[in-house]
Symmetry: D2
């Protein structure tokens, strides 16, 4: 048995040095954060391993956009699965809008009058929708023919004027999936076209072929989840077609006891054949906006 080593902080400690000490402490949030960084490092370094990244929650309004783009541009991951909300927030910023620092105790009626949509304690300006409507309007012809959601999203990435998560995916040829894309601002913009009587070819089940094929042909697979929801579950179900995941990192504030997929511990996946019983994996209950920059900083020093 290894003793718990107490963390000792010298002046001007780097994030990576701290994370290593957390790993040496070995227990609770600190220990799990240390282990999460190690497992991310191991799966990224493992040349045989395809890394699947699931992203849910308000990561863009939470200040994580540059880090996510960095992960993709570094090609640390091979597949991205995310929510329509994240892609909407990302597109909004790519079109020149910002999110704002707000308060969870705000007067929501007042915000509504002023045209700000609250996302816990960040605000999204409502006029973001105008910019997106213009963007979709202008590019609808190219988008409407895309048969899979991934192709649809890559096309948005290609057309996006500035740096963005989708542009980074497109340029680096990282497949990006978003099964519930219709459940988002982008979805609403497409509805705006449908309401005018236009047609969109994008199929609901089409992407399954690609993600399952990537899983199926991967020699090894690793999963990294920030948040749960559809992104996690969609990767998890693909893992049944991989030789089950060899590495896993789950970081979320969701808990297992409600029984939903979002908070389910990774070990539950062993029963399903999604997670290898010998896999290196860790569950960390932590706000993604705290854990993501710390792990990213540690990895940047290590890789």
């Amino acid at each position: 048995m290894k003793p718990v080593n107490h963390i000792k902080i010298k002046k001007e400690v780097s994030v990576n040095e701290l994370v290593k000490q957390m790993d040496s402490a070995g227990v609770l949030g600190a220990g799990r954060l240390g282990k999460a960084a190690n497992i991310c490092e191991a799966m990224i370094k493992d040349r045989q391993c395809k890394v699947f990244l699931g992203l849910a929650g308000p990561l863009v309004p939470g200040g994580m956009r540059e880090i996510i783009i960095g992960i993709i541009e570094n090609r640390w991951v091979d597949v991205v699965v995310t929510t329509g909300a994240t892609l909407t927030h990302d597109l909004g910023e790519a079109l020149g809008y910002r999110h704002y620092q707000g308060s969870a105790d705000a007067d929501d009626s007042e915000l509504h009058k002023k045209g700000f949509d609250r996302i816990y304690e960040s605000y999204m300006p409502n006029k973001i929708y105008e910019g997106m409507e213009d963007f979709i309007d202008k590019n609808f012809k190219k988008l409407k023919e895309k048969k899979s959601i991934k192709e649809f999203l890559w096309e948005i990435g290609r057309l996006t004027p500035n740096k963005s998560i989708l542009k980074a995916c497109f340029e680096n040829k990282i497949p990006v999936f978003c099964p519930a894309i219709s459940d988002s601002g982008i979805g609403l913009m497409i509805w705006g076209q449908l309401a005018k009587g236009k047609q969109v070819e994008t199929r609901a089940f089409e992407d399954l072929k690609e993600i399952i094929d990537i899983a199926w042909t991967a020699k090894k697979a690793g999963v990294i989840y920030f948040g749960g929801g559809v992104p996690k579950n969609y990767i998890q179900q693909a893992m049944q077609f991989a030789k089950s995941a060899s590495y896993g990192v789950q970081i979320t504030m969701d808990r297992p006891e409600s029984g939903g997929s979002s908070g389910a511990e990774l070990k539950e996946g062993i029963s399903w054949g999604k997670m290898n019983p010998k896999a290196k994996f860790v569950d960390l209950i932590c706000d993604a906006t705290i854990a993501m920059p710390i792990i990213y900083a540690a990895l940047k020093e290590r890789l």
Copy 2:
């Protein structure tokens, strides 16, 4: 100011009587449960109000299937939005399979060998997939032509041999939406067909027309959420096209502080124009398998 009335229990108290006393206590979980029952009652009784029900989490493996079917057959709700998992669990049971009482501390490797997939502390027999594969195989021709997910799901309901959530929706003409249907066992069965080179017409964005139209034309709207995820968010975004919701009940174990849609307090929706500032609404942090039967029992006595 109303005083907190202490709950007094006489022998053989009915659930409805207890819920009324909880409402009279007025605070914390008890008070909110009491209020939730009242608001559900009010929105169902309000003839002008279209009621949107969002269902997420393991409600079928959690023993809620008969209650959900009851809600639909009683026509208490006008729209159902749910997850692919719930519809998969439901179809499995309609095909004669059961879920089993298990343990959250189970040996997952052992379960895997025995062919049981763990959902926290309930188990799904893996052979459920064989039955579903047969079902989809046999009925694929009828399913593959459905252009919207709702039509696809109603068709499953129509074809289902026994009582089920989807059959109840179909028979009672309750529209049922599931934007992330590809993220589920049903999705995997359809992938099985795609992998054989077959085609499915179902479109990713098509359903938006119908749900937004229902919201748009409703004189008033009410929302009831058990769990968060895509079902909640998909209804919430439709509420922007209603005259905003006049009633709201949210029951989940998710918390607001991670900033995701699942745990966001209903009042946040006011800033978006999803919730009316004058709406009657309540957030209750409670396991759905506790709150749902209690509210259902109270409503059954009241309605």
Copy 3:
């Protein structure tokens, strides 16, 4: 393996009937609530078993006062351990004050001006302190000589003019412990006396003799926790001196992952010798103001 039985609600179902159906569903919150009622029933019926009740959290401002008094008057438990806050709220109500239904979104500055202290969404009138000061002032001579906290609390119960938790404990000779009594409004009232130069004999460690003696001499022991904190831990440490607990029910919103005693799963106690490996026990993550009346109602019908 037992299948999950779906709960079926007939009209005017009693709470006890519903709880039995929850037990038959067998999983998640519903299953655990059903099991909790069964285990409480079993330990209360077991004549050889001493039942230790731990109470933490705002149970009195939450409307649970009559139920707690009922538990004591029914002599379902042999020992009560609670917080200074609960005893302060209880004494306040015994002296004629009430708690009020409020809002978690209240303007706290405004409440402060109006003399209301907020406890999440219930309010305590600040003038409660005047009544308590008078009470302590008048009775200080009798209180100051009590060497143990239990004797000090029984004396308050004896002196209390109306029905109260402490009065019920005193009259039924149920030992009541509160190790952190100084951390409460009652503590502050005693400080008011100390500040005038008076002395109080009550010893910090004295009660350990009595609670450990009860545990030591018990043939069997059972524990019921609503909330965690000192009450739970104080009972748990006594269990090391019992033959370890044979029954256990823990109901709290606290989670295990922060590693504190409050949210620790009961099974953790097995490693300490606090819980018998063969004990019947269940952990339920649920608001106490929901679970307590339900279990009480079920027990009232069964016992």
Copy 4:
């Protein structure tokens, strides 16, 4: 309104630089962690401000012991309030024992046989009690006469052979309070003496005089809470006698909705006169073993 600035990570970023970027992002966990560091810095730098530190939860088994000792030796705080468990873990380590890295999924019966007590995923060797018994036995004469718990704890600190939290408090003359000291391993060791018929003079209410006096005479006050429980509440009630706290930082995994003091938001204290309406304060929901080293490292660079 300030925009959310996206965190950009350059190589070998120091913890302090990261925390500043988190503050600039401004929202969710990251923003709150940034703000927590700022507020800690401000209250420590404010010469007129007395800083009260509340510590609950398994901080010593979680690897935080050196940091806590550092906080005290740096004299960043003026008062420490903690739990008996923390002081027991601290004394154990001072007597040469260690805590060990374990697993939350351990076989607790097996651990019991091997003599390890589980604290979520760290293990405490049971033989720690032998060492403590010897220590208390040897020093009982000096301890038994201490009239206040603070004097009792300082005496333990004085007598402790090696570096410890209590020794640091004693040597730096930092008052340390622990109202529920009887609820701990140290309490049990004292019970061992009482069981032999010995007497201990330590009074239950005595310490209130000193902590309230410190609060009362402070020109300004600041509070820092890692975890909730009695330590938080005991400081909060003292704040009613200060001119209310001017600074506040609360870091815990407990939530407000159960209504208990542990998870209550700091703003609730405004209604009580515990927190100044103009105070700088922040609530952060985060594992203490993650947040504490980060804030400590940031402060070490800044102070």
